[in-house]
């Protein structure tokens, strides 16, 4: 295996992006920041991979418009996934492992505010037995939350504590679209939105984009003084049928954690949990003890741009290696209803 590291990361997150859904004009400064961090130019990037969805953009081939932001003459080596850019990162990591390229830039973007996000996401469900009922993502998460409440796996206080810690941490994140801690009592006094979830238990609808630069060996050391070396990366998925999954656990997250050799020694973890109870499910599935610092960025409850929020978790975790705060971190991404798909990326400073 080749040693591959995260060496660059830039992001933008906002409530309403006043621009086109292909977001080329937002990606230009993001890619510019990645060049500045690494000292590289377009020609130094061996492979490009993006994550986005036309269902979010409301137009076809939106990712083709987005690659205008790269400037693709002469042509570039490019790919796309209809998943969070964390999975684009996985593809890029594989590409570097093949030896074909030494560097890659991955990016994700999405303008969720252009439509009704929780409704649009009903199209990721089984089209025969679920989509005709248009079950929205928030309701599916609420059904999952109640299963855990009824089983005594968590309680309302535990959910409010996750929210309070996240929104308190988010005060220090310039890209948070929701921030400001209060208290468990104050949070629990707020009205239900999708009983048993309150609005603050659900990630805010967010527009945004992000990019991450990967590099192998000496190229990584050339771009970053303390690269975040990827010591394990894996992803896994649970089945399509909601009823045949145990929604109080996450088998796919457990399998992804096992595939990277476990999470022992991880000091900081950025978990992509768009709903408060899902952080509890993931903490347990990934085997992260009480001593692991979770989501210092504020996590997805502070901002959750579709198709980049997972990659942002990896980028935020990598920053903790770059600045010497930690020696071993974990970035996690999820996709699909009620934590159906999960990706784990463990990074180390050396």
């Amino acid at each position: 295996m080749r040693d591959v590291a995260v060496v660059g990361f830039a992001q933008r997150q906002m409530k309403d992006f006043d621009g086109s859904p292909s977001m080329a004009e937002l990606l230009v400064p993001i890619l510019g920041e990645c060049y500045e961090q690494t000292g590289w130019q377009k020609k130094d990037i061996g492979f490009w991979c993006s994550g986005s969805s036309d269902y979010l953009a409301g137009r076809s081939f939106s990712f083709v418009s987005a690659i205008d932001a790269i400037g693709v003459l002469p042509p570039v080596n490019e790919s796309h996934v209809e998943m969070d850019a964390a999975w684009a990162l996985y593809e890029a990591w594989l590409k570097i492992q093949t030896g074909e390229v030494d560097t890659a830039l991955v990016f994700g973007f999405g303008k969720a505010s252009a439509g009704v996000l929780r409704r649009t996401l009903a199209l990721q469900l089984d089209p025969y037995t679920m989509t005709p009922l248009w079950p929205d993502t928030v309701c599916l998460a609420a059904l999952q939350a109640r299963l855990g409440l009824d089983a005594g796996l968590w309680d309302e206080n535990a959910l409010a504590e996750v929210v309070n810690r996240s929104l308190t941490d988010a005060e220090k994140n310039e890209y948070a679209v929701r921030a400001g801690g209060s208290s468990v009592e104050e949070l629990l006094a707020r009205p239900m939105f999708a009983d048993p979830l309150r609005k603050h238990d659900c990630a805010p609808v967010t527009d945004g984009a992000a990019a991450i630069v990967l590099a192998a060996g000496d190229r990584a050391r050339e771009a970053n003084q303390r690269p975040a070396w990827i010591s394990g990366i894996a992803h896994s998925s649970d089945g399509l049928h909601l009823g045949t999954r145990d929604l109080t656990t996450s088998g796919s997250a457990e399998r992804a954690a096992a595939a990277v050799g476990g999470t022992d020694g991880v000091q900081i973890a950025e978990l992509h949990a768009p709903f408060s109870h899902q952080e509890l499910v993931l903490r347990s599935a990934l085997g992260l003890g009480e001593d692991v610092r979770l989501n210092p960025s504020g996590g997805a409850l502070a901002a959750n741009p579709m198709f980049s929020a997972g990659a942002i978790r990896i980028g935020e975790a990598a920053k903790k290696i770059w600045d010497g705060t930690a020696d071993k971190v974990l970035g996690h991404a999820t996709s699909g209803p009620a934590l159906q798909q999960n990706l784990v990326c463990v990074m180390e400073g050396r």
Partner: protein
């Protein structure tokens, strides 16, 4: 004012899907007002039946007819329903384990308030009088314990082998800031392009990023409404929403001063006489019909000038 022009857009399509034997058996059951489960490799019964066993991945082939009653195993209250959901006013989604089944089914429960539903509550199906073989043929209601006298039966219902699922999504679509300046120019009868600061090419419409250099186009350039046909096609195929009777010509017009051609119609000339290099001029609609739209230009028509030399547009094809 928003820096971008925005307009509502609805994207809709009716998906026709074949069901296959497992989903087809389940949906045929619903048409007959019967809930059909599938037996998994470990002996459990799943509703709806999955086509393949989630553990062994073997095809599911054994079906079990079940009663239309069950128990709520989880629920949530939809305080703000979205379009297409089973009720326009607030309602409950629930996970319901049908009697005789082992896995829950996601469906709607028609109750007046969140106080009227709880985990463990008994529910039964309320069937639609006319059923098509879809999960929308029923909703669940609290089961008061009496047998459902109104339960319809239609044992001879025709087998369901395909379903049509209409999907319609509403968007607020925004043009990029650069495209917005182009459309605002059209509202004044002007065609505005922008020059890339790196390669100096003039793009019309202007773009958030030059596709060659990856930088926003910036310097505004007002273009002539006269140009050259670089390439074209004759439209012979009728399609839904077509406004002009075929055959007609859709062409790329390279406006004088631009480096990128604009697509538009060529009319006022028989389709078979349109050619590469032909000089054309925009025919504008009456001013009172103008908006922020490329449709302000009705079409392009021949100017009568001699054709342009191939060399003048060969780098713009």
């Amino acid at each position: 004012m928003s820096r971008t022009l925005q307009a509502p857009v609805t994207v809709a399509f009716d998906y026709t899907r074949s069901t296959g034997p497992v989903i087809g058996r389940f949906l045929t059951g619903l048409k007959q007002a019967t809930i059909v489960g599938g037996r998994l490799s470990d002996g459990r019964v799943a509703v709806p039946p999955p086509e393949y066993d989630p553990v062994s991945h073997q095809a599911v082939t054994e079906f079990v007819e079940l009663p239309d009653t069950g128990t709520v195993t989880s629920w949530t209250w939809v305080s703000e329903p979205v379009a297409g959901q089973p009720s326009e006013s607030a309602f409950a989604y629930a996970l319901i384990t049908i009697d005789g089944a082992d896995t829950p089914w996601l469906h709607a429960v028609d109750v007046a308030s969140p106080d009227d539903i709880s985990t463990g509550m008994r529910v039964r199906a309320r069937w639609a009088a006319e059923r098509t073989g879809a999960v929308t043929d029923l909703v669940f209601v609290p089961d008061d314990g009496t047998t459902s006298a109104d339960r319809p039966t239609e044992p001879d219902a025709e087998e369901v082998s395909r379903i049509i699922t209409p999907v319609s999504l509403d968007y607020r679509y925004a043009a990029s800031p650069e495209e917005s300046s182009f459309f605002r120019g059209l509202a004044e009868g002007r065609i505005l392009g922008q020059r890339c600061p790196k390669c100096r090419k003039v793009y019309v419409p202007p773009r958030g990023a030059c596709p060659t250099d990856g930088v926003p186009t910036s310097e505004e350039v007002e273009l002539s409404d006269v140009g050259t046909v670089t390439t074209f096609c004759v439209v012979n195929v009728p399609f839904m929403g077509q406004k002009i009777k075929p055959p007609y010509v859709s062409a790329y017009v390279l406006l004088d001063g631009a480096d990128i051609a604009l697509q538009h119609l060529i009319l006022e000339i028989p389709a078979e006489e349109v050619r590469m290099g032909m000089r054309v001029k925009a025919v504008w609609k009456p001013r009172e019909e103008w908006g922020t739209s490329i449709e302000n230009i009705s079409h392009f028509a021949p100017t009568g000038e001699p054709d342009a030399d191939f060399d003048t547009y060969k780098h713009h094809l």
